[in-house]
Symmetry: C2
Subunit: 452 residues, 2 copies
């Protein structure tokens, strides 16, 4: 009696060639984060429920994978932020601040199963945590990291949208609408979907905002005109609220340093409609959208917060961070056929086929090729030649090298370029040079196909 | 009221500098496995209990993290082999065979908490799975991969010990002790600990093995004398049992190809006392010991098996694989101070300190350095100079670069080598060249300190 093999619904399990692409994406993220001096972190998947759920409530708590083992009440992490807060509170005395860490890890949420929704998924987070204070320059650096990350992945047509919560909170304070600010921001957030008239109706109707204030809000969120233009337009509000003024200074600083950080104007926009949730963020907030795929929503979001670990410690630990929902991003890119199998989907560069009874010469050849940095698979199954070539083809291995008695006595190797079909019989060095040149062309691409 | 932050006992959570070393070890494993054409695989941490426990029983089952979510009976994986079996059975039609995969992932066992014992730990596995058949050359390749892996990590004094289960099973069949073979092997396994006299006593006493057979067993496991010598000594048994003869052919083949695979004699030994469990393995078996730390036991083990996925499918899927218990290996190496913090423990190569009110020049300098491939952290907190240097020192960042008004007007940058204390004031290109040369020396080491 066999057990039917299956993978749980909501759990991504990729075929090898897809997995290669996912690994490539992760490698690009790791390299980019490392380039900015972020240290990798790896916290447990399981935490004590009491620790993990110190803050959680409502929808999140229902989704938690929570269970007992012996006397212990355990939960699987549902994000990487709470474990970070625990980590920093626990190891506070051993960490130099600012503490810059990245973590790429699986998190768990028992959501309703749905196509494209995952219960186990990777998040890729970076955070910079200060001890008591954290300079605004860190908030200015984040768009540079987002820009580098998506550029290295291969995207061109994306935009990092930035706002500042102090500006929003200060603005609503000017209108004496602080208490309703949360509801108003949620309504304003629908602007792109439902248009300004509907937003105005909801504000004056459901939310009871006075007509004059609603007009002010609509004028405010309609501010456009490039980064300098938006900053200029915001100047007219200066002097009416200290928090607003502080936010405007911060936003101006973030914009000021953009070019030094190497972020092109076209990949960045001040956008006053962005709010990012309600309580957590207190300064700069970020969203990132793919211009040709707005339906995907933000692919990298985050912001500045004032107190990372307040549930665990009295230390004030302000920070700024961003998160990429990697599993969902991969799923969407794969669906849209935006991933570049050419560059990254083969697990080997060369398949070596021994054609002699004694495998030693082929084994030695594979070892020699490997020493140059190539990924080389030795194929030793006793199959027909056609089956062996078919194997290379299915695995998309770009080169097949054969070594028979003829080649051995002539001091050459045979090599087939699987893409062009061209077959050569050349000395080792020449064969290697051809392979290396071909691979350099092949692997020059990025993991996401670059849009024209 | 604060919640006390804590990490569960039996769950490894490293400080940043230790984590860097762990990441370096993982990177070496990934690169080495990739060099042999293994594809990365990533299966879910959670599986349906019915699937995961199709085979398990006894001790393993008690250790499983098993729980319900909604109507589902779920378990956390306790190794990477069962998920591989499921994967291959499930995706059989989409996989070209031989299927070579590596997986480095966390597994879970609720063992009794104990120093150096982990409940969440990484395994790093490679397997080669055939469809119906798998050539013996694959078994010969495994020692080459083990050798490369530990060499690249930095170890020199290690030995890969190899045996063949067919030889053992054939030998016990000759003695008409097949039914007791399991108990006998478990007793023989104690040879190094308790010595040959005690082994003989146990065999003839508890196990009731006839004196003559016990003598034969002791003579057999005492066979020594280098690989050629052991093979020669085994020849005397040839012709008495077909399984034994087949095993001897296989072992001779594995030994024959060693030098072509680049495995030095001193890192390899045929060892007739190695058995590796009882039922699962059917051909070549492997253990790897650190010669100066025999107390650690085998750091990389595995072998040939005939039927990976028999609980899920009627397909015959023979394979060969090895596994490294990475978390435990890291723990031991760290305890023994065998890890090389110099090469791999800093998260940045350069710390850039702006010394001007306008950060733009320092930001641009950091970006420029980063473009050369350096990992560069920009430090923008408003602290005393001493505190900034102390920060670099605590993070073991090897170079600090400053840019003040003086440097800007002179067209130079100041740079301090944190190891030597030497400080220079040179043009950008010269500074970069000094940093690159210094880092090349620093990073030439391996993650495990190479023994003299």
């Amino acid at each position: 009696m066999k057990v039917q093999p299956r993978t749980l619904s909501g759990f991504m399990e990729l075929l090898p060639r897809e997995q290669m692409l996912m690994e490539k994406m992760m490698a690009v993220l790791r390299e980019t984060y490392a380039a900015y001096g972020f240290a990798p972190l790896d916290t447990p998947v399981i935490e004590a429920s009491e620790v993990l759920l110190a803050k959680a409530g409502g929808e999140t708590e229902k989704q938690i994978y929570r269970f007992s083992k012996g006397d212990s009440d355990l939960s699987l992490r549902f994000d990487l932020t709470v474990p970070l807060a625990k980590y920093v509170a626990l190891h506070y005395n051993e960490l130099p601040f600012p503490f810059r860490r990245f973590q790429i890890g699986k998190v768990y949420r028992g959501e309703r199963a749905q196509r494209g929704r995952f219960r186990e998924f990777y998040q890729a987070d970076i955070d910079i945590i200060g001890d008591g204070k954290l300079d605004i320059a860190n908030e200015a650096e984040i768009p540079a990291i987002i820009f580098q990350t998506f550029s290295r992945l291969g995207l061109r047509r994306f935009q990092i949208r930035v706002n500042n919560r102090k500006i929003l909170n200060g603005f609503y304070a000017m209108l004496e609408l602080s208490e309703q600010a949360g509801d108003i921001m949620r309504t304003v957030d629908k602007l792109e979907k439902i248009g300004p008239e509907k937003v105005a109706q909801l504000l004056t109707g459901e939310l009871g905002v006075p007509q004059q204030a609603a007009d002010e809000i609509l004028r405010f969120i309609a501010i456009r005109g490039g980064n300098a233009g938006v900053l200029q337009a915001l100047e007219q509000y200066r002097g009416r609220n200290a928090l607003f003024d502080a936010g405007l200074e911060e936003l101006a600083t973030v914009v000021k340093y953009l070019s030094a950080f190497g972020v092109p104007e076209e990949n960045f926009a001040v956008d006053l409609t962005i709010a990012r949730g309600l309580d957590y963020y207190t300064g700069t907030v970020y969203e990132t959208t793919m211009l040709d795929h707005p339906e995907i929503g933000s692919v990298c979001s985050g912001g500045r917060y004032d107190n990372l670990a307040e549930y665990y410690t009295n230390k004030i630990l302000p920070g700024v961070g961003i998160s990429i929902g990697l599993t969902r991003l991969f799923f969407v890119l794969n669906e849209q056929r935006m991933l570049n199998a050419d560059c990254c989907a083969a697990a080997a560069d060369v398949l070596v086929l021994p054609m002699t009874a004694d495998l030693s010469p082929a084994i030695a050849l594979a070892a020699r090729l490997r020493e140059t940095g190539l990924r080389v698979q030795l194929y030793t199954e006793k199959k027909k030649f056609h089956a062996k070539m078919n194997y290379a083809d299915r695995l998309k291995i770009p080169y097949v090298v054969f070594l028979g008695e003829d080649e051995l006595s002539a001091g050459v190797v045979s090599c087939k370029d699987m893409a062009s079909g061209e077959q050569t019989k050349l000395a080792y060095d020449e064969t290697l040079a051809r392979i290396q040149a071909g691979l350099a062309r092949k692997y020059s691409g990025t993991v996401i196909r670059t849009e024209e």
